[in-house]
Symmetry: D2
Subunit: 470 residues, 4 copies
């Protein structure tokens, strides 16, 4: 006669074969309720669909299905009202919900887990969550793109120095500069679309690792849960976290872009550049220095880039070298991705607002574009058009610049006579091309900073943004 184990008193759903209860410290260490509670909605929605599938597979009766579904709906409402407290001893949100269900509707509730393992259940929840968050983040990106388009339109006439190596290089339109970020965000959206698609594969029905043994209709289940397709291999399905890594990688690149923009916000708001003034609403002061106005938002965004990179590296490391199929290490995916989602959403939100409230100092930008020989390349191109080989033209203009530096003079103040000392190809029209405006106008190719090209780019972007329903 088999003896009854002590552990039957355990709260654990799996305690049948165990003789001793889990140590308190181990229980706390392994419990995930404090963060996976976030998935309660996905979990209940999934369970409702799963109950219907069990019904269709004749594992439960119509009456049982109805009671289970009603019970789950009641729990969902309770949780939405915030009236439910999870018990960490029940390990995770999934076991908590099952336990609530059983205490609400009795033994029928014990039928829900038939053929389902937490291995496929958790992955399904997380995929539902990330599909949703990918869409949310895309919407936030679009919002920021709209801010950029608005700014680009408003400032279409503003010329500023374009930089390479942070040295003044050539004049560009401020709008052109802003539209560069529009393009980065465009690629970010594409990455989140891919990440959403990566998540859009239903693992449910993979069981613990070998598959479901109740011949459930996985295709139908996927349809009801809004998944585009089902996973093709149960062992892969329960041990795959590629979709989380894809998502975090998309976030990492987005943060990289915003770190670059942040760097520019910080630079532009220095006393030295003086290209922008931040609104008081998006700047902070100093606890000791009364005069300070600091671009903290941009700095924190730049700083948080490290945080998101860290999560990417963290999860890649965690997954390294794990044998098939599910291993508990993977539990680390959730806190990482939740923190990344929170970070990215908040950052997009507040950075966009800050951006919209910036006051651009067009005058100072224009002034800066005039100092630093920014049209030297235009002068070389002038010579090229007069049949001087470019490499020769480059040298000639290099010497002109050296001469100007010594004489502390800007290119546009050179007389034709002075120019001619360097090359007899210069003629009366040479000095005309030395203005920033002329330089900008001449970059008349698709993607160039010529005003008509930038206007086209903005128009095209606006249209694209409207019709894009990703």
């Amino acid at each position: 006669m088999p003896k009854k184990s002590k552990s039957r008193k355990s709260k654990k759903a799996w305690s049948g074969r165990f003789q001793k209860a889990m140590a308190k410290s181990a229980e706390e260490f392994t419990s995930s309720t404090h963060y996976d509670v976030r998935l309660y909605k996905q979990d209940i929605v999934q369970s409702i669909a799963y109950a219907q599938t069990l019904l269709k597979a004749h594992v439960i009766s119509a009456k049982e299905a109805k009671r289970i579904i009603k019970g789950l709906e009641a729990i969902l409402k309770g949780m939405e009202r915030g009236k439910v407290k999870l018990d960490p001893a029940l390990e995770d949100v999934h076991m908590n919900i099952e336990s609530m269900l059983i205490s609400k509707i009795g033994d029928v509730g014990k039928k829900l887990h038939s053929g389902r393992s937490r291995n496929d259940q958790v992955s399904t929840d997380l995929r539902m969550y990330l599909k949703f968050e990918a869409t949310e983040i895309i919407m936030l990106i679009k919002k920021m793109q709209t801010v950029l388009l608005d700014l680009a339109e408003q400032h279409i006439k503003v010329i500023m120095p374009g930089y390479t190596h942070l040295q003044r290089a050539q004049p560009v339109l401020l709008s052109h500069h802003l539209m560069a970020y529009f393009e980065m965000l465009e690629r970010d959206k594409a990455r989140f679309i891919s990440a959403g698609a990566a998540a859009d594969v239903m693992p449910l029905g993979s069981g613990a690792l070998a598959g479901n043994d109740f011949k459930i209709d996985r295709e139908l289940l996927a349809k009801e849960l809004g998944f585009s397709c089902i996973s093709a291999n149960s062992m892969d399905a329960v041990s795959d976290r590629d979709f989380v890594i894809d998502f975090i990688a998309a976030c990492a690149v987005l943060m990289m872009h915003l770190s670059r923009f942040s760097e520019e916000i910080v630079l532009w708001s220095t006393w030295e550049f003086d290209f922008i003034e931040l609104s008081d609403k998006f700047a902070t002061g100093s606890s000791i220095m009364p005069q300070k106005k600091n671009p903290d938002i941009a700095e924190i965004v730049r700083g948080k880039t490290g945080r998101v990179y860290g999560h990417l590296q963290g999860l890649l490391t965690t997954m390294k070298g794990l044998p098939l199929a599910y291993n508990r290490d993977m539990q680390e995916d959730k806190e990482a991705v939740f923190d990344v989602v929170d970070t990215v959403r908040t950052v997009l939100d507040v950075f966009g607002e800050m951006l919209a409230s910036i006051n651009f100092n067009a005058e100072q930008m224009g002034r800066s574009a005039k100092k630093g020989y920014l049209t030297a390349t235009d002068l070389a191109s002038y010579l090229v058009r007069r049949n001087v080989p470019f490499r020769e033209a480059h040298k000639i203009v290099g010497e002109i610049v050296a001469y100007c530096e010594e004489s502390n003079m800007e290119l546009e103040y050179l007389s034709l006579k002075q120019l001619k000392q360097f090359s007899d190809k210069f003629s009366y029209d040479a000095t005309r091309i030395l203005s920033a405006q002329s330089s900008v106008n001449s970059k008349d190719v698709p993607g160039g900073t010529a005003p008509n090209r930038v206007k086209d780019a903005i128009k095209h972007a606006r249209k694209h943004l409207l019709h894009d329903k990703a």
Copy 2:
């Protein structure tokens, strides 16, 4: 009268405005010839197309274009024959080729760089290179997938223990296990297709950062260079390395997958598992222990995962917080991506060969699948079919397992009488379901390990692989 600067004697193409020659140490530090020589072919092909574009834009004459193109073709041939030595003092492969061209065809060669900057030139080369490498890697992945399909077909009857937490969980087909890796590689291919598409945007015509000032036809140029589209913003174009990061991220996830497979190769070839024997051709011995046969290939692959992760993190870090547009920091992208390409290509190659030569020990796998109560879940499902709520069934079977453990007995040796002591729902057919084969058969859902399902999966995969011309 402007004085001639000393620096005119410098080898540098840009020395016009400089008074002093670069320090030797600085020259060596900034030079990239020792690695970017790899891009010579892309660079020359690009230059030929660019010369044609300059012709169409009336910057050079037909005769000039012809001489430039002929010169470039000669240089290409020379480099392919390995007869060319680059001069590090000329900074990079691009300036070396320009310099060779000039010394070969004279002053006409100095016209080639008109309107082009290394900023758009280098990015175009690198994109051409990565487009190509993405395709190459996809082909290598397919090759490994073919090995997996062959192995899966050959061993379709082999049953082995499936693991979770590295504990024996449920019986699965070896073929099913192998096909899990097929699926991972399937996702990897998708990632390289995306990475290839990300690279497939032509930045050429963006100039230094503001655009090209010779009204060249960028669309036509893209067509000739085999690019699907052109970049939409010149500032973004020259400062964008997303495509490199996307590529390395795809490699990182691929390596993660292979690190998992490697871990299993290492485990399976232990004395303890004894599931496989590596061919002598893909194993190594010990310098001191005469009996050793080590799975070094798998270990090194697992180890190199860190290397590829490191490059991903490295480049993300490098790009963090850089203001627009081009900054020299970005030069670090090339050594990283070259090393990643070499690593991944070699790894795919040798890992695939090693895989194909493995000797699977089917007998030992089968034996292992019989020990460890792997069909306990099937017993629970049996009870569920007899209307015992699953959670109750789980507990009952848990107690049966505890009983077996104490009695040191496997499930399949339990008599009906013994079973009935735990639940009266057990009847004569209960013991039939306790074999590994029966367990495997019952996972009869898409993606499950039932033999018919696995055969379908293999057939489908084979067909897909044939028709997939990514």
Copy 3:
């Protein structure tokens, strides 16, 4: 006449020069109260010492100092009782405490911040915190070392296979294997001692970045706060986070060690190795598979390694390329280091407990050490002692192993006659050295696995641990 700005109503301590209040979203984004509340104790202790210093520097009177200190002590008590709620709008714990002080003792409280900036204040708090945590972690490491010593003593007679490449290599004592982790932890302790020393430099008195302008006695202040020395450069002091990185790096290496140990716990508790049984108190079951007993603690520890690595990379990234002196990006240090401290402390705690409750299966270990030709090297050494050059001896024994493999025989069952077929140097005593025990005994060098050496090592370690009061 200057107009009164609206912002005087702002809660911010620095609102004097601002016209508009901070946006709610920006306020939330920049606030750190939800995590830096952890530093309240350090902050108050610091402020009390700072008040005394201000008194000595004649910035405040004795009466004022007394009131400030009394006020701070009352706040400390309140916070310790958990009766205080921080206001996020006040930015951080430091401003909250100052604000409480002012509302408690009036205008005198407004004198406390004289000459002090949050830049030196925060860094001082964090250093005090990490000095403390370094000590705490060292104590936890010692606790785990004690567990290891106890186990090593208990199992001093147990022989097991030593592995390289996870292939059986040579017999070793289980105690020797366990003592390898003792050594790793020994190095970890050294790293935390270094990290503690790195934190043990007082930045207070550096002001915002230029130094304190009230001629305070920094040396005395350091003494009162228990710092060993003061920072030597105020700009470095407020922008230095090396000490945080050092601390997290120490944690990363510790986690790497524990990930290796965890891997072994996972391996050893497989059905295949069967070297240990985990206590039910430190194992978990499966929601679906009734027979499972999983080594979750070890898996989660292994998984959390990625998390700690991620924080290291995150902070390194955040600090990259920041100009002097303080930048707000650095605020990201705290959440990272708090999470790392929590992770490492919990991991050390629960991993140690799990370790202590492990049941080692000595019999199975011994059995395993007998299969796999683990004494082949001993046989080669035998030949070396008979003047066969080692490389020759290695080859001979390699052939003997090949012969045994073919004949499916262990080395110790070879007859002298059989041995002699491979080399005539073998004589009657050759077979004696082929037992695991003999092999172990022969590794009789310091650090070797010979029982007397291992006993010495344990004894020495025990003594060292007792007298070590790091």
Copy 4:
């Protein structure tokens, strides 16, 4: 009668038990000769000492030892002359040297490896190498510190704006700013001293993992090889790579510091800051823009920070989850650490040279320190000295700044009358404290920017540098 295996013809030292030769691809994949050739010197020196130890342990005769040592010395000479080509099929530099030895002195050479494994051999080589490199890097750091001290002395009178959040904060001495980097480098040196000490433990005598079986005198061996101590546990010894991680971590923090300095070099050389001019010897031009002079050295240093971070992350990842003892994954340590050493040495070298050749624009720095209300805090401190509570004083000055901003006026041009409108505590001496010089003078605490304090710091640093013989 045992059959002779084909593999006896293999070049591998371990081929005795193998039937088939290694595949070419596997051979190439596992070979490390192309990079570990770097360790040839350490390897030979080690072998010479090991031969002497074998002699003392009576494993070889005096005559044999002499021949071995002479042979090794000849090989060393040959390699130093660059006359030796390694054979990749021999796996690594160690087997190559053994093979050369055997072909040079015959069978006696086959005795050298007695009791030694590559596991302890490689680790010993690498430790010898890193001990040396730690010292080399410390010397390069000192060289850069000397440059900093020279610059700090030369420019002791130059006042510049100190920044926080890249906003002008308070005036500081340029020398003080430079000395902040001196301090960072001081900590870096300490880290390399630690890293050197971590490497300074001899693993030789640990054999493959269990210890040496010829009772060699490890202590004596360590003494001869210049190690301070011997490893305490053979299993730990062969699987420990902490010392490599410590070394790379030290490099990562050093690079972080230099990335910050680089960022400042880039900023300071912009048209906007105009604080410095780089020497033509350490700047580059543009292939297209004739006027450009770019701070490429600083940019590349900043960029290479990612590279070194990547290696740190890479090796940490590689070591994660490896069971004891040696695993081949660890082979990845060498290329990583070699690249890091090369990077750091070159960076220190060229960055230091660049630094020394910088032309500081003192006038522009001074001008900048006058604009931006940098002495606002001094004004608040003035009020504090007149018994206005600091928080009140901060508000008052904040309003004064707001007033000045509106009136577009600097603080120092405020009349006493104007000041008095904000507080009647202002008196005739208030305006005196508003100069940058006065502000700097007032930071008269240890570590502060007051000229006497900075001079003391320089003097102390110079002295310390001289007497420091790390």
